[in-house]
């Protein structure tokens, strides 16, 4: 793994995902090609049933595609066993969920420490890293609080701290502002923008246009297909340049 900065964080090739078999099969994703460069900030939009959650699960290695290949930070996910998938989820991906998904009755600090525990980071170092991550989301003053003692916005900030504490290649946010009021939404988007500015790769699902507007690139999914892919900044969309013969081997090398 020596690709360095030039290696794309995310590369989907011809990925389809269907549930069920035969005539009753539901095709959630159809032949999706996607390439996300390191440091990009991508918003995925689409109506419900458009396949954006399935895409998220595939990207997060929580689900495997039916066909096609998925390279995360240069690793073909299909080759990984359970043990290695756990490693990838631990080191390469940080999750932010719509419903926060903090472990209940467990302090904010401990929630942030969780990925580090599974990464076998020693106790003292773990605490330092967790406090740093909480500092990045501005929550060091509430780190001993339980999730039910925090507001929705604060819980989501803890979740973001947990997502970035292992310094993953990719932060995946599944409707991070879906359950939040507008003030908290602004707060969370600020943090995500800051993370992007600090060089993190972010892929975010949302159905709020004003939230998507914060991203540098917006992808619309319709019926499991990429319908539009446009950059809100000046740079051209990368997927457009993607050639079919730009082989997987070249990417994973």
């Amino acid at each position: 793994m020596s690709g360095g900065l030039r290696r794309p964080t995310l590369f989907l090739r011809n990925v389809s995902k269907s549930y069920g078999q035969g005539e009753i099969a539901v095709h959630a994703l159809r032949e999706v090609d996607l390439l996300v460069e390191r440091g990009d900030f991508v918003a995925v939009m689409g109506s419900s049933g458009s396949g954006k959650s399935t895409l998220m699960n595939v990207l997060g290695c929580l689900d495997v595609p039916t066909t096609g290949r998925y390279f995360l930070d240069g690793i073909d996910v299909a080759d990984l066993d359970d043990y290695e998938l756990a490693y990838v989820r631990n080191r390469k991906i940080g999750f932010v969920f719509q419903s926060f998904n903090l472990v209940p009755r467990t302090s904010a600090l401990h929630n942030v420490e969780l990925p580090l525990i599974y990464a076998r980071v020693p106790r003292r170092e773990r605490r330092v890293l967790a406090v740093e991550a909480l500092d990045a989301v501005g929550l060091t003053h509430r780190m001993e609080h339980m999730p039910n003692e925090l507001s929705g916005g604060q819980q989501q900030r803890v979740a973001i701290a947990r997502a970035i504490v292992t310094a993953p290649a990719l932060v995946l946010a599944d409707e991070p502002t879906g359950n939040l009021d507008s003030a908290s939404t602004v707060e969370i988007m600020h943090i995500l923008s800051d993370l992007h500015a600090a060089g993190r790769t972010i892929v975010m699902i949302t159905h709020e246009p004003e939230v998507a507007a914060q991203a540098k690139r917006v992808i619309h999914l319709v019926d499991g297909r990429v319908d539009s892919d446009r950059r809100t900044d000046s740079a051209p969309a990368t997927t457009a340049r993607l050639e079919r013969d730009d082989s997987a081997e070249a990417v994973s090398a």
Binding site: V103, R105, Y118
Partner: protein, 405 residues
């Protein structure tokens, strides 16, 4: 994930549901405590009975009249009942015929009412015997002296009392030298027996002993039969030889239709029989207790299954942030083991505490092996019944677990 980390998480999980954890532990606690206490009761009663039999003397063979009942040489019937007499004692005392016999002690038993001043008491046992009884029955005196040969020959009205009789007649007074009345006849107290305690059946200190000669004239008449003859062998290896010699001497004069009408009780074989009976008793008690331990284990499994279902989402979160199968397995297995270790430790404490009290008349004697075994089995039960729920948790797919509502 280190063992310490798993233990910390498990502790957190156990503490999160205190009442439920406590009730689950209670199942194991009761199981472990039951094993310890019941085994202790079984062992305690075995010890008591054994002590009682040993209190009768271990190198001795007892001969009683009558051919029925249990014991060797039985088979006679009531019509051929022949009493044992002093003639038999004389015959048994012949050293040429019974080289393995150390002493022969005739015993008559009866019941008398004893009075001292205004106090009156009926000892459970009143016996008349000779001086050799003291050694054969291992009943040394604590104060004064036992009956002497001189007193025996002289038909002296002297008596040796057990502790229980002393307490009942004299209260706090010194009984030595006092004269008590047995069935209205005055006897001088010359000795007090050392306390022996109970043998599991009766109080061995509830006894009064007088010279055989005196007792026979007082109670049954000189020609009356003996209650029993105690034969003491020279050593523990010679008990069986002494028994054979005694049997061969008595059989010609005490048999009809070819079967003996006296019975011989060998203490050693009696000891063996009761030991094996007690073994069965103890195993039975332990089995009952083991069942309660098993039920406790099923309780652990039940609660762990509920816990896993309840925390499915948490398991999903943990897997999403990088927990491996083995991490989840370790966490939930630690939790069930923690429950059973805590429950087991409390059970050991309760068991040891409970064994200090007398239960159904038995002083329990804790067997160290039962403590170790109960705790080990308790923990093993937690581990065994924890495997299925923990495995179920570990096998959850993160995507399903996260979606679980």
């Amino acid at each position: 994930m280190s063992v310490l980390e798993a233990a910390r998480m498990a502790l957190h999980g156990v503490a999160a549901n205190r009442l439920r954890s406590l009730l689950t532990m209670l199942g194991i606690t009761i199981g472990v405590a039951a094993v310890i206490i019941l085994v202790a009761v079984g062992h305690g009663s075995a010890v008591a009975v054994q002590k009682g039999i040993e209190g009768l003397g271990t190198n001795v063979v007892t001969i009683q009249p009558g051919g029925f009942g249990f014991g060797r040489g039985s088979g006679g019937n009531r019509s051929s009942f022949t009493q044992l007499t002093m003639k038999d004692v004389k015959a048994l005392q012949d050293p040429s015929a019974t080289p393995d016999v150390k002493s022969v002690t005739p015993v008559v038993t009866g019941s008398v009412a004893a009075t001292f001043g205004s106090a009156s008491y009926t000892p459970n046992q009143f016996i008349g015997t000779t001086p050799s009884y003291e050694e054969a029955r291992k009943s040394p005196v604590a104060a004064g002296q036992f009956i002497t040969q001189q007193q025996e020959t002289a038909h002296s009205r002297v008596v040796v009392l057990g502790q229980t009789v002393v307490t009942n007649l004299f209260g706090g007074q010194d009984p030595l030298g006092q004269t008590i009345k047995l069935n209205g006849i005055g006897f001088q107290v010359v000795g007090v027996l050392a306390a022996k305690g109970t043998n599991g059946v009766q109080d061995q200190d509830d006894i009064a002993i007088a010279p055989l000669t005196t007792t026979q004239s007082l109670l049954t008449g000189v020609t009356g039969g003996l209650g029993q003859i105690i034969i003491e062998a020279k050593s523990s290896h010679q008990v069986n030889a002494a028994e054979a010699e005694a049997t061969s001497i008595l059989t010609p004069t005490h048999s009809s239709n070819g079967s003996a009408n006296f019975r011989v009780l060998n203490q050693a074989s009696l000891l063996q029989t009761t030991a094996s009976t007690n073994q069965v008793f103890t195993v039975l008690l332990a089995a009952v207790a083991a069942i309660s331990l098993l039920v406790g284990g099923i309780g652990v499994m039940n609660i762990m299954l509920v816990t896993v279902t309840e925390r499915t989402r948490e398991i999903g979160i943990r897997k999403a942030v990088g927990a491996r199968r083995s991490d989840i397995l370790a966490q939930f297995l630690s939790e069930s083991v923690l429950l059973s270790v805590f429950g087991g430790a409390v059970g050991v404490a309760v068991g040891l505490l409970g064994s200090r009290f007398k239960l159904v008349g038995v002083q329990p004697a804790v067997e160290p092996y039962s403590v170790v075994l109960a705790l080990a089995v308790g923990i093993a039960v937690g581990l065994f019944f924890g495997i299925y729920p923990a495995n179920r948790a570990a096998s959850l797919r993160p995507i399903d677990a996260l979606r679980y509502e």
